[in-house]
Subunit: 363 residues, 2 copies
């Protein structure tokens, strides 16, 4: 199998960067001195190779390293391990970009339904989509369901669980999902909308498989998953086992040393149909340039994988809809959570304003 | 349930730190504006509370926040989500320390066998232990097994897989584990040693459960797991399902924004009997102070959990044995990998020197 090409951004002085690059190539492959290695296959196929080094200014260098695709063994967790496992323990390195061989992209497979599938589910051919979140955690299922019904009545496309909603005593997963799905279905019958509900999955594979049964029993076709917490292997398996479902990825625990656009790209590789990320101008510090690169990584041509829908979030507000749509274009799902909930008694009206603003502005 | 007390180290100016602390408390709990929240349980139990702020100099502050233990729902992945999920996306914050309610510590349970169990397995009452690693990845099972036999003949206590060994075509997990276990058992019969072999687990819960069958079929009682890749929930379940096995945690993907001593402490909470970490003076940049704190987090009294054995690694060498034992004391397992393998034809002799040096020096 051809090699993965991995770009690390390294803080170094010019005199040391070549040695540092070779060290990373070793660390992310054989992880031992090269001298005692005499196996021909390991020497020719497994040892990481420095492909190029280019200064980017300010004492930073982009180091391109070729790693064996064979070491991944088809497992998404092992992919992460090979890309960055030990090197993440160094504080002078960011994981900047990855390209994978076509065989590997095909083996992982990317999104199940992609942007087109998400659009079709809600009957929105070419406009931007809308989303909100059920919160706060701590509410019992009936209160979350009431909230879900009122958000759905406003005509949103997607309603997702807050990523903090798990399987807690005060709101067990199965009870919550059933109650919220029913409330949204009822609102849809009344309004004619096709609002979708995406429950948040949590726990190990066995726990999530049980949650998937509850998801299907409730007639749902979309879920939310946090790959950095569930584990990449877990997500990979779930995507494969549920080819008819759409997966929205949440970025929690995705901070630190992986470039945010790369994280979106890799989540898409694993099967995210939509990728939530903290947009500029909200509670988080991502720049417009970073956000544009995230959207590009989700949507761009890459080994024939379906595009994933960018979902800018994290403190978005209704008055920013035109600005956000100007910036992201139509291939986006705007997520406004807490700001809608602040409307309290006027939640449905405020939500309808959000849905209308997006529809009006993106046609 | 009483609250978790979480310490974040925040970079801020003095004028902003109170507001920043409140923002973190909100982000890690209800994740929405507080004004529209009217549920009494959420207001009294769920919303995070700032407990204290103290400057540590240089524009850094330690912010102590109390979070609801109920939100964890008994799941290790959700614990990580609640401690740091969204806040990890901010680059001005480190997760510094956590204390958990005794009920929560008891529910997670900590190590299965702990330091005493690891000692008993190899018949080493009170000396430091020794460990090496099978590498490089890319070798077929028979070559790894030959290596394992030669390392075992040198009288090591533990031999672990390199964390890059997964379930690859060139070395399938079950074949590798059987071959290496047999080679080590044969060496043990010849030498009278009780060298233990710890295969590296990878993939999702279903894949690892299959690997566990191979581990048990080979008569093994120790495994290696990388919690940041496998997922904390996966590890939690495996520890519970295999109470008679010892778990060694590998730190890969543990860089970034969680303080290394806290990572060791939380891996112990999840069930790590031994915690591998990159020691000072090797290939990684951890300071002696950080390493001392890691060892303290693994070994110290904490809610009655069994202590976990610190395993300093990452470029250790034979000539540093006295220095490392002076520093870490006897409650340690020294791991020397690549440096031993560099001995090539004299691998067994070099390994025996390592084992002897540790035995001599730590009695």
């Amino acid at each position: 199998m051809p090699r993965l090409i991995v770009t690390y951004r390294v803080r170094s002085d010019a005199a040391s960067i070549e040695a540092r690059a070779r060290d990373i190539a070793t660390e992310q492959s054989v992880e031992m001195p090269l001298a005692p290695i005499d196996n021909a296959f390991v020497k020719s196929e497994i040892i990481g190779q420095v492909e190029g080094i280019s200064g980017t200014g300010g004492g930073l260098f982009d180091v391109r390293i070729a790693l064996s695709g064979e070491t991944v063994g088809g497992d998404a967790g092992q992919l992460l391990n090979m890309l960055f496992g030990n090197t993440s323990l160094h504080d002078d390195v960011l994981l900047r970009d990855v390209d994978v061989p076509p065989e590997l992209a095909k083996a992982f497979g990317g999104p199940n339904v992609g942007v087109r599938g998400l659009r079709e589910s809600v009957g929105a051919k070419d406009r931007a989509l809308t989303c909100s979140a059920l919160k706060p955690q701590g509410l019992p299922p009936r209160d979350l369901a009431a909230l879900a019904g009122r958000l759905a009545a406003g005509g949103l496309d997607y309603i997702k669980d807050d990523h903090g909603l798990a399987d807690q005593n005060y709101s067990p997963f199965a009870d919550r999902v059933r109650a919220c799905a029913e409330a949204i279905a009822k609102a849809n019958r009344a309004s004619g909308h096709a609002t979708r509900y995406a429950p948040s999955l949590s726990g190990d594979l066995a726990a999530i498989r049980k949650q998937m049964t509850a998801v299907r029993d409730a007639g749902l076709d979309t879920v939310l998953i946090t790959p950095m917490i569930a584990g990449w292997s877990t997500m990979q398996t779930l995507v494969r086992e549920n080819r008819d479902l759409a997966f929205i990825s949440h970025p929690a625990m995705g901070g630190g040393q992986i470039a945010p656009p790369l994280l979106a790209k890799l989540f898409r590789l694993l099967g995210a149909d939509a990728v939530v990320f903290p947009s500029f101008g909200g509670r988080f510090g991502y720049s417009p340039e970073t956000c544009r690169a995230i959207a590009g990584a989700a949507l761009g041509d890459w080994h024939g994988l379906k595009p994933a829908l960018p979902v800018p979030a994290g403190g978005m507000t209704l008055d920013r809809v035109p600005e956000l749509l100007d910036f992201y274009g139509r291939d986006v799902m705007l997520l406004i959570g807490g700001s809608l909930l602040s409307a309290k008694d006027k939640l449905t009206e405020e939500t309808a304003k959000f849905a209308e603003a997006v529809k009006r502005y993106s046609y």
